[in-house]
């Protein structure tokens, strides 16, 4: 183990009304690694991911217990600044939905919100973020055109650049490539691998090959429980649990 984990979670339970969607998850995430969360639909992996930046808060009748810490700080503590949390923990969604503004305005949105007005700083952030998201060459001449005019894969990378611009420590991705074609997907995968030296990346994916190619650790969820957390290489070659082996060999899910 290289460094102390950046996010720790202990005995996390989540209830939608009476239904227990997460049944006690213990899971840690290391910096500069990509962790893939896999499992069949309804296994709780997305629900768990969304706990990490408190995106579940607005859902009615939800109850969360347990302990989730970022830098050893309880993110569900009553004095937690949720805006600050979401700056530290950025999120990319399945549907590539840029805001209805220009590419430039999309990327600097979070910075402008933080009160940064200096044009030079914003220009620099746009270039750095779009480069890091591997979409700079395609967009550098059309920065002031609407982001909605881009293709799905480009949109998703602009959405990622938008998150990178606010310099989070952790990036959550909820099936970032499932709405994209294979070429766009592989570009994003490659980009994530390039990004991990600066970020902690946690990614939900339905694509097992993607998890195997891109991630360092794989966490397998089933029925609201964490079945196995393992180094990705080991997970896909010599899984520790019977359920894991059944899942990756396509016997269910």
């Amino acid at each position: 183990m290289a460094a102390a984990p950046i996010i720790t979670s202990r005995d996390v339970h989540l209830y939608y009304g009476k239904h227990e969607a997460l049944k006690g998850i213990d899971l840690d995430f290391n910096p500069q690694q990509i962790t893939a969360l896999i499992g069949p639909s309804g296994s709780g992996k997305s629900t768990y991911l969304r706990l990490l930046n408190r995106m579940n808060d607005l859902i009615p009748n939800i109850k969360i217990t347990g302990d989730i810490r970022l830098y050893q700080q309880d993110i569900y503590a009553s004095d937690m600044d949720i805006v600050q949390l979401r700056k530290e923990v950025g999120m990319v969604f399945q549907q590539p939905h840029p805001f209805p503004f220009s590419i430039y305005d999309n990327v600097v949105y979070g910075l402008r919100l933080a009160g940064i007005k200096d044009r030079a700083v914003l220009d620099q952030a746009v270039e750095t973020s779009l480069k890091a998201a591997a979409v700079w060459t395609e967009t550098k001449d059309i920065l002031h055109e609407s982001a909605l005019a881009l293709s799905g894969g480009q949109r998703q990378r602009v959405c990622i650049a938008r998150v990178l611009a606010v310099k989070p420590a952790v990036i959550l991705l909820d099936e970032p490539t499932s709405a994209l074609d294979p070429i766009s997907s592989s570009k994003i995968e490659q980009m994530l691998v390039d990004l991990k030296k600066d970020y902690t990346i946690i990614m939900v994916t339905h694509n097992l090959q993607q998890a195997a190619r891109a991630s360092d650790k794989t966490a397998f969820f089933l029925d609201g429980q964490l079945v196995e957390l393992n180094d990705t290489v080991n997970f896909f070659t010599a899984p520790a649990k019977k359920e894991s082996e059944d899942y990756i060999s396509g016997r269910f899910g």
């Binding site: 930046n53 995106m55 607005l58 009615p60 949720i82 805006v83 600050q84 979401r86 700056k87 950025g90 999120m91 969604f93 399945q94 549907q95 939905h97 805001f99 209805p100 503004f101 949105y109 979070g110 919100l113 055109e145 609407s146 909605l148 005019a149 959405c159 938008r162 998150v163 606010v166």
Partner: protein, 294 residues
């Protein structure tokens, strides 16, 4: 009869129905325009009406219609935006918001003459506003608000839920997300709905007969002080609008050229409403294009 022939028959019937509707519309428009347009001249559009002799115009009525429209929209646009945003973004699903939605639906189906009489009792008599532009604007607000609110609510609801999450995930508060992301994205739909609402208000007569009044006192277009009694901007003066004027000269007009004035005024009204509709479509498409650059 086999499936293919059934399909063909259904298609033909649908075409006939659609054609009949278009035919009625075109005939109506053509009739009004052919009857009315020859009477429309610059003099007709600007001169005051005459009660007993020929040669009167619709200048004051035309101005009243626009002024009333602007006032009514000034009141109803912010209200409907607020109500629509609340219903779409904040309202929880419970009996109270259910009641609000039902009330809005009932309100939108009230006959305008009933809304007019309600406005007469409340604004004209109870609040002592008299027959005035203010009473008229308020009653038009009551008349228009439900539809505008529905339009805003539906425009906002059509924006993907993912946009709300994306805003929140960037650290925006809920209000910032609504104001800076959801409303701008819904703007083409909202603007289109507002302009169509404006067109409806422009042509409204029944609700105004008892509120804005049926008389158009002479206006002094050199004095724009809103507190001066003959000022065009005075909101407390009675103001017959174009639509009310048409109704009035057809029911009790005694000027010798009543038929011509009525036909001309109708043509002007129709043209104005057509312009509202075309502008609504043009602006909505333009806004959408500007946002998507497609």
């Amino acid at each position: 009869m086999n499936v293919k022939r059934q399909d063909k028959l259904a298609t033909i019937i649908l075409y006939v129905i659609a054609g009949a509707i278009i035919l009625v519309l075109v005939a109506l428009l053509a009739f009004i325009l052919i009857q009315g347009l020859p009477h429309v001249s610059w003099h007709f559009l600007t001169a005051p009406a005459r009660a007993f002799e020929a040669g009167g115009g619709i200048g004051i009525q035309l101005f009243n219609s626009f002024y009333l429209l602007v006032l009514a929209m000034l009141i109803s646009v912010p209200l409907s935006l607020g109500a629509g945003i609340y219903l779409s973004e904040y309202a929880k699903k419970n009996w109270l918001t259910g009641l609000i939605r039902t009330s809005i639906e009932i309100l939108s189906s009230l006959p305008s003459v009933v809304v007019g009489l309600f406005g007469f009792l409340i604004f004209v008599i109870q609040f002592n506003f008299g027959f005035s532009i203010l009473s008229g604007a308020l009653v038009l607000t009551v008349f228009n608000l439900p539809l505008l609110t529905r339009n805003v609510e539906e425009s906002l609801a059509s924006i993907s839920h993912a946009q709300r999450e994306a805003g929140l995930a960037l650290g925006l508060s809920r209000w910032e997300t609504v104001l800076k992301i959801i409303v701008p994205e819904a703007l083409p739909g909202i603007v289109t709905g507002m302009i169509l609402g404006a067109g409806r208000v422009f042509g409204e007569a029944a609700a105004l007969i008892y509120t804005a009044g049926q008389s158009a006192p002479a206006l002094d277009f050199t004095n724009w002080n809103p507190f001066y009694i003959a000022s065009p901007l005075n909101p407390m003066r009675p103001a017959e609008t174009l639509a009310v004027h048409i109704w009035k000269i057809n029911s009790e007009g005694i000027m010798p050229d009543a038929v011509a004035v009525s036909a001309g005024a109708s043509a002007v009204l129709i043209v104005a409403v057509l312009i509202f509709n075309l502008v609504a479509r043009w602006l909505g498409q333009r806004l959408f294009k500007k946002m998507t650059s497609s």
